[in-house]
Amino acid sequence: MNNERPRGRILAQFFPPLTGLARRGLAGWAILIGGAIVAVIAIMTTVSPWISPYDPIAINVGPLLSHPSSEFPLGTNHLGQDMLSRVYSGGAIMFQVAILSVIVCLAVGVPIGLFASYTGGYTDKVASLVMDSIYAFPGLVLAIAIAAMLGPGVVNMALSIAVVYVPSYFRIIRSQVLTIKELPYVEAAHMMGAKPRTTLFRYILPNVIPSIVAVATINFADAILTAAGLTFVGLGLPVSIPDWGWDLTYGRRLLPSGAWWVITFPGLMVVLLALGFTLIGEGLSELFNPRLQR
């Protein structure tokens, strides 16, 4: 019974019902607005097959490079594809890559972080050194090297992004576990004969979850930007899949013709999606670390 209490209180404190969020000042509003943006884009992407006026990958559905008009509200690109349909459905890849990479990061980063920092000693030193080396590296460049070797594909893109972001999880978990494991209640659990595994997962982990959630949302935003960047340098998915990243990549070559609509709308979608996740992440970190809340 005792072990339920800290967990329950923490969850109640940090995951208040949505209505409570608005009463938590700016941080609450940031989470609400960010959440709304992400939700709207997620719904739009999910229902895109039913709301798209045209097939997003069908070519020559209209004139080439047509200005936004009543028939094609966001114009068409150099292949005569309808930009509105492409904007509706182009986020699916972003979501898949981001979700997959966050899952991989959670599955790898959290156990390593918990175990290494709880064990301490050489394990901790070696893990920290490896993680810090990766962390210090320009993320996109490392992701490029890995993605270039693995080849195109959603899973490969997600994996190369995950490698870059695992250290962020490791660092935040480590910094917290180092403090938490010295707290009296953990010592008490230890004295009462709790196994290390029990201490780690039942007593320490619940206290780290809020930080993990905050890192994960920022990770979502970064994964989206990195996925777009990988596509931009030519390591994206085949052109037959609608993707905002592709529109931005090809749109660059169309700029001299004055076709602003080809890059503007997909670009704004990427910004909005990344902004949504960043707002959630910023709000969460402010809620969880009231000291930084100014």
Partner: protein, 343 residues
């Protein structure tokens, strides 16, 4: 700990970090599924030719020998041979590096100036509309893909307004030569500095015009973190006693804010500059591609198109060593400025 022993410790810590990185990159290229040589030739290739190709690049040797060759080569500044034409990658890297360095320096200036000015403004107008607008701008800048902002800049300033050039470093044939004094030739590869050395004002202005859009793009995307950092530090500093005392003495508000308070908020900004250098390089890769800026980033992206894995490895390794060196230098400057860090 004295400054000297701090520097030595920090230096010794950098070596395993670089070693780990080098090993990691080596393994990524060789151990991940797919053999780099066969990946290079997308289609079927004559096995005899593939073998000869591997022999030329030293990829036929056992992996541990390759690893030793790779490390020994790096010590001599040899980053391997390109898969495309077997030319040394280091030559390409060193000729492309000044362009990236120039872009990085100018973007850093934009990033720091915009970040500090907006951060100070936000702190001074704490919790007002201006403060919120600046904070949202900072977050939005972070969430913008650098190449999208670059494309918008090209569209607006180069294509519609014809104010600035959209790509490359300088007008063809106008490359500044640097300083030549008799037999002595001095040239940095940074076009702004070279044109000054040459004493050619029009080339200097031209190189600045070519630099402006890319550095503005990269600087703006990265300034968000500096806005937040400056704002947070200034909020605290502006409430401290010495600021109140300075105000009580009747000093101008500008002097109090920029002369007194900002100076105290500067140390964390310096640390952040070191940490952001990696992000700066990553951003430079995309910015250079957007603006056809002939630096290391564009070289890397070109090599990706050619599936030139040895060149990719060379550039990635070079970036890694560069980042490690910069963070070392920043840490040493920081320890020099703030003696507390050494203890």
């Amino acid at each position: 700990m004295s400054l000297r022993s701090y520097v030595i410790t920090r230096l010794l810590l950098t070596i395993p970090m670089i070693m780990l990185l080098l090993t990691f990159v080596f393994l990524v290229i060789r151990v991940l599924p797919g053999d780099p040589a066969s990946l290079h030739f997308e289609k079927q290739v004559d096995p005899q030719m593939l073998l000869e190709f591997k022999r030329q690049l030293g990829l036929d040797k056992p992996i541990e020998i390759q690893y030793v060759d790779y490390l020994v080569g790096l010590l001599r500044g040899d980053f391997g041979k390109s898969m495309q034409d077997f030319s040394p990658v280091s030559q390409q890297i060193f000729s492309a590096f000044p362009a990236t360095l120039e872009l990085a320096i100018c973007s850093t200036i934009v990033m720091i100036v915009v970040g500090i000015v907006l951060g100070v403004q936000a702190a001074r107008s704490y919790n007002s509309v201006q403060d919120h607008v600046i904070r949202v701008f900072g977050i939005a800048a972070y969430a913008t893909p650098v190449f999208f902002l670059g494309e918008v800049m090209i569209m607006v300033f180069a294509i519609y307004l014809h104010l600035f050039p959209a790509g490359d470093r300088i007008y063809p044939g106008m490359t500044p030569t640097g300083l030549t004094l008799g037999g002595l030739h001095l040239s940095t590869g940074l076009y702004t500095i070279d044109s000054v050395l040459e004493g050619n004002l029009s080339k200097f202005i031209m190189s600045l015009r070519y630099l402006l859009l890319p550095s503005l793009t990269l600087g703006t995307v990265l300034c968000g973190i500096f806005i937040r950092l400056t704002r947070g530090n200034m909020l605290e500093t502006l409430q401290s006693d010495f600021v109140t005392a300075a105000r009580a003495r009747g000093l101008k508000e500008r002097t109090v804010v920029y002369g007194y308070a900002l100076r105290n908020a500067f140390l964390p900004i310096l640390t952040m500059m070191g940490l952001e250098f990696a992000a700066l390089l990553a951003g430079a890769v995309l910015t250079e591609t957007t603006f056809s800026w002939p630096g290391l980033g564009r070289y890397l992206v070109d090599r990706i198109t050619f599936r030139d894995y040895t060149a990719i490895q060379g550039v990635v390794v070079f970036f890694g060593i560069l980042v490690a060196m910069v963070s070392l230098v920043v840490d040493i400057i920081y320890a020099y400025l703030d003696p507390r860090i050494r203890f």
